[in-house]
């Protein structure tokens, strides 16, 4: 036997490895995500909705607070049921609401508020939840016990009451809404991150880092947080719709956004009031919200699959 087989194989692998381009986990994840058709379509739709929300109102003829009392609760021209009271005229594509405002521009403004609530509340929950959860999980023992019991206590407070109390004390405030929703959503995030951290810190590479003299803070930032990113990103895509729903619910109760500013929740509430006489007032905002929520869920699914290295 001239060459030991093992070295032969190593050389073989080496030779092949040269032309295999190095790819990171993120490249792999992206490749898998792109292959997931539902996720890609969702991302495109979501981007379109976001672009329309940001730039759409600039190109529309009406302001979101402009009222035209001649065409109150009027259907769009193309509405198939001709038995409606009135027609809003060619330029109101989505018809008008009960104060004669253009429903299209209001739906787009609603999208701005709803998406902003979703994103900001998620960022708030992300920042608090990840740092809190990672710290609790990594330090472990009594500190962990204490920190997580605090989370349990917060969990047990009915959050609608919490928000109502906040609204009563601090007055209805656009910004407070974000904080209130984010402050509730971070609890679950903290639990998820803590659980992940608990299992990560048992991993040999954390022990290896410790044997290499790396301190606690660096281990958390360098090893733990990058590795909890997978599950966290997935949870984020679920938190965004949850926040949008929470805002809608609060607005539905009359605790959210104040007129004339609007959100999908407010629009749906108004629409629901006139569901029988003017169904389009419910249909358009509700459709937009449903599509958005669907998209986020599909993206979440896609990311979960894409970030799982076992699913190759």
């Amino acid at each position: 036997m001239s060459v030991p087989f093992g070295q032969d194989r190593i050389a073989d692998v080496m030779a092949r490895a040269v032309d295999v381009k190095g790819r990171s986990l993120w490249d792999d994840a992206l490749r898998r995500l792109v292959r997931n058709r539902a996720a890609v379509v969702s991302i495109v739709i979501l981007l379109l909705i976001a672009l329309a929300a940001v730039f759409g109102p600039l190109f529309l003829a009406y302001d979101y607070s402009y009222q035209n009392y001649d065409i109150v609760s009027c259907a769009p021209d193309w509405w198939p049921d001709k038995a409606v009271l009135c027609s809003a005229g060619g330029s109101h594509w989505f018809g008008t609401d009960s104060l004669g405002r253009d429903l299209l521009v209001r739906t787009l403004y609603g999208a701005r508020v709803s998406l902003a609530v979703g994103l900001i509340a998620t960022v708030v929950s992300l920042v608090i939840g990840v740092s809190y959860g990672a710290t609790a999980g990594f330090l472990g023992g009594r500190v962990d016990e204490l920190m997580m019991r605090f989370v349990d206590v917060l969990y047990s407070i009915p959050y609608i009451f919490l928000v109502i109390i906040l609204m009563v004390i601090f007055d209805r405030n656009f910004f407070l809404l974000f904080v209130a929703i984010g402050a509730v959503e971070w609890l679950t995030m903290a639990r998820i991150v803590r659980g992940q951290t608990l299992s990560l810190k048992q991993k040999e590479f954390v022990e290896a880092a410790r044997a290499g003299g790396v301190g606690n803070f660096s281990i958390i930032t360098r090893h733990i947080i990058p590795n909890v990113f997978g599950p966290v990103i997935v949870y984020v895509t679920l938190t965004v719709p949850a926040s949008i729903l929470a805002e809608s619910f609060l607005s539905f109760l009359g605790l959210g956004i104040q007129e004339p500013l609007t959100s999908w929740g407010v629009l749906i509430k108004d629409g629901a009031d006139q569901m029988e006489t003017a169904p389009w007032m419910l249909l358009f905002p509700a459709t937009f919200m449903a599509i958005t929520l669907f998209c986020f869920n599909f993206i979440g699914d896609g990311l979960r699959d894409a970030l799982d290295p076992q699913d190759r």
């Binding site: 036997m1 040269v18 022990e207 290499g212 290295p309």
Partner: protein, 600 residues
């Protein structure tokens, strides 16, 4: 060979469609298995040995495709519909897998699972099925079979679970038993017991057995004929003696050469690190104890100490390699971590070159990290998946010698990568792009980059294939010869330990039972546990294996929570009360440097 084969495999090809292209797992494989014959199938990971039989029994994953011919008693069964396969799968052809915990349903008792199998396949009435279940459990030598029937899988030890699996597999009187690495997850003494059972099954029940294993020693002990697989191909097959004594294919020869042998410590071409000339003591461990508090059930339950390491003392000289062997739960890894201060010790002293490690300030401790490093068992798990291997190797350097600049660190990383046999151009690659052996080289590089004086290898080669294992061992020994560092080499594999160590220490439930230089301990073991351990190691030599009379340890390793267990070999001093303070067997020096714990 029997006139009509039970299973006849011809031209079997298995392909998997994966996102990275088609994987050709099995190529053109073919062999026959006759009546009451044992076929051993050996090969390293990825050789397709498991997939071959998965395909034959119709258990291939959804993305796999098999072509060729598999005949069971003359009847074509490859790609047969499940309804047809189920007529004999589970009753006439049965399988046992590596991990007995995941193969058993957790919410059903052991007995219920055997009874279910019996009733489905043979239609026996309940009371007869129960009787038969007890019978087969006794056949695999499960003590108190009736009581064990009522236990859930998690209440049984690994060895017991594997016995239950075997019992389930033989319950319906199969023609063919396919055992896929049935002992790989078990300790050597338990492995010896399971292999004994398999040998008896073959002679008593006349069942044909396919034994799939990476371990030539296991195969040597049970197989009549052997097929050697490599990268999906059967490269050589024949009677067991031909394969072991007159191998024809280079790969078979390589496998036999690479396999560390307990009876032949110096592998061909392998260099053993020279005995230390320097008498200077590097590390001194005095009566080290590490206890973990284990809380009982409920809020106010008493905590009991789990004595993972219970009074271990040893010294290590400069340039010396100390091997630590023992079975799972004996405290060998805990001992390593306590020495490195990765775990807090309960009591005792660790002295590093005249300085007590316990009395150091945080800054001094950090400086000491540079001297003491560790290589872990699982090469992939010990590397951060989101860091390039260059970053992983550089990490200890960045922390321990931050005064070095970026460029200097990069230069050092390149140099060490070349030293451990990695291409420096791979510095930006991620661990998942490499094989286990390459990742372990990264692990070695990470430990070596700070130029430590002592490296602890915690099962550093246990997860690797034999050929890769041999390379990593050679690498470690070469680095040791070059740098003159000391090693503590921890492994459950006695053959490997014998190959690299100067002195060997045997641990049993947190205490040393025997310590001597490497030849003495294998040639002249004094303690019954050491003897049992040594005789349990399978040797890749069929004649030796056939002639071997096992020093059997019955049953499983006792729980380290039980303070009485340490006196298993000194029953005369035992106080039979779980709470009593027990006598600790003392070490006696029977010859210069040969310490043996008291025993009956």
């Amino acid at each position: 060979m029997a006139p009509s084969p039970i299973l006849e495999i011809r031209d079997l090809d298995v392909r998997f469609a994966t996102p990275d292209g088609e994987v050709h797992a099995v190529r053109n494989a073919g062999f026959t298995i006759g009546e009451s014959e044992c076929l051993g199938v050996v090969g390293e990971s990825g050789s397709g040995k498991s997939q071959l039989f998965m395909a034959a029994t119709g258990l291939l994953a959804a993305n796999g495709k098999a072509t060729g011919s598999v005949k069971y008693r003359g009847q074509e069964i490859l790609n047969a519909p499940p309804a047809q396969l189920n007529r004999f799968r589970g009753s006439k052809i049965t399988m046992i897998f590596q991990d007995p915990l995941t193969s058993l349903t957790p919410h059903m008792t052991a007995g219920a699972q055997i009874i279910e199998t019996l009733r489905i396949h043979t239609g026996l009435p309940q009371d007869e099925a129960v009787k038969r279940a007890v019978e087969v459990l006794e056949l695999v030598r499960i003590p108190e079979a009736r009581r064990r029937m009522k236990q859930y899988p998690h209440e049984l030890s690994g060895g017991m679970r594997q016995r239950v699996m075997i019992a389930m597999a033989i319950a319906c009187g199969p023609d063919l038993l396919i055992a896929d690495e049935p002992t790989t997850a078990l300790d050597v003494t338990v492995q010896a017991q399971i292999l004994e059972i398999m040998r008896d099954l073959k002679s008593e029940l006349k069942t044909a057995i396919v034994m799939i294993s990476h371990d030539m020693g296991v195969i040597a002990g049970v197989a009549d004929r052997v097929a050697v697989m490599r990268q999906g191909e059967v490269v050589e097959s024949g009677p067991v003696d031909d394969i072991f004594y007159r191998p024809r294919h280079d790969y078979t020869k390589m496998l036999l050469d690479a396999m560390p042998r307990l009876d032949r410590p110096d592998r061909a071409g392998h260099t053993h690190a020279p005995a230390p000339t320097n008498e200077r003591t590097l590390l001194q461990v005095d009566d080290l104890k590490v206890h973990f508090p284990i809380r009982g059930d409920g809020w106010l339950a008493r905590t009991r100490p789990l004595r993972a390491v219970d009074g271990v003392s040893f010294t290590l000289r400069e340039g010396e390699t100390l091997g630590i062997v023992g079975e799972s739960g004996c405290g060998k890894s805990t001992l390593a971590r306590a020495v490195l201060k990765l775990l807090p010790k309960t009591d005792g002293r660790v002295v590093w070159m005249t300085r007590d490690l316990g009395a150091l300030s945080a800054a001094e401790q950090r400086r000491l990290r540079k001297e003491l490093q560790i290589v872990f068992q699982d090469p992939l798990a010990s590397l951060d998946p989101r860091m390039t291997i260059g970053e992983s190797i550089a990490e200890p350097l960045r922390t321990l010698q931050p005064e070095l600049g970026r460029a200097a660190i990069r230069e050092k990383v390149r140099k060490i990568m070349e030293q451990v046999g990695l291409d420096a151009a791979w510095i930006n690659r991620y661990p998942h792009e490499f094989s286990g052996g390459q990742n372990q080289r990264v692990g070695v590089a990470r430990a070596m980059i700070v130029e430590p004086r002592l490296v602890i290898c915690d099962e550093a080669v246990s997860a690797l294939d034999v050929s890769i294992q041999a390379q990593i061992i050679d690498l470690i020994v070469k680095l040791q010869t070059d740098t003159g560092m000391s090693l503590i080499f921890i492994s459950h594999d006695l053959s490997v330990v014998r190959q690299v160590s100067h002195r060997v220490m045997v641990l049993y439930l947190g205490r040393i039972v025997e310590m001597a230089d490497r030849d003495t301990i294998y040639n002249d073991p004094r303690h019954p546990y050491t003897k049992a351990l040594i005789s349990a190691v399978p040797i890749p030599d069929p004649r030796i294996e056939r002639g071997k009379r096992h020093e059997k340890l019955s049953g499983d390793l006792p729980s380290p929570l039980d303070t009485r267990a340490q006196l298993n070999f000194l029953k005369s001093r035992l106080i039979d009360d779980p709470d009593a303070a027990q006598y600790r067997p003392q070490l006696i020096e029977v010859a210069p440097g040969h310490l043996v714990a008291e025993h009956d």
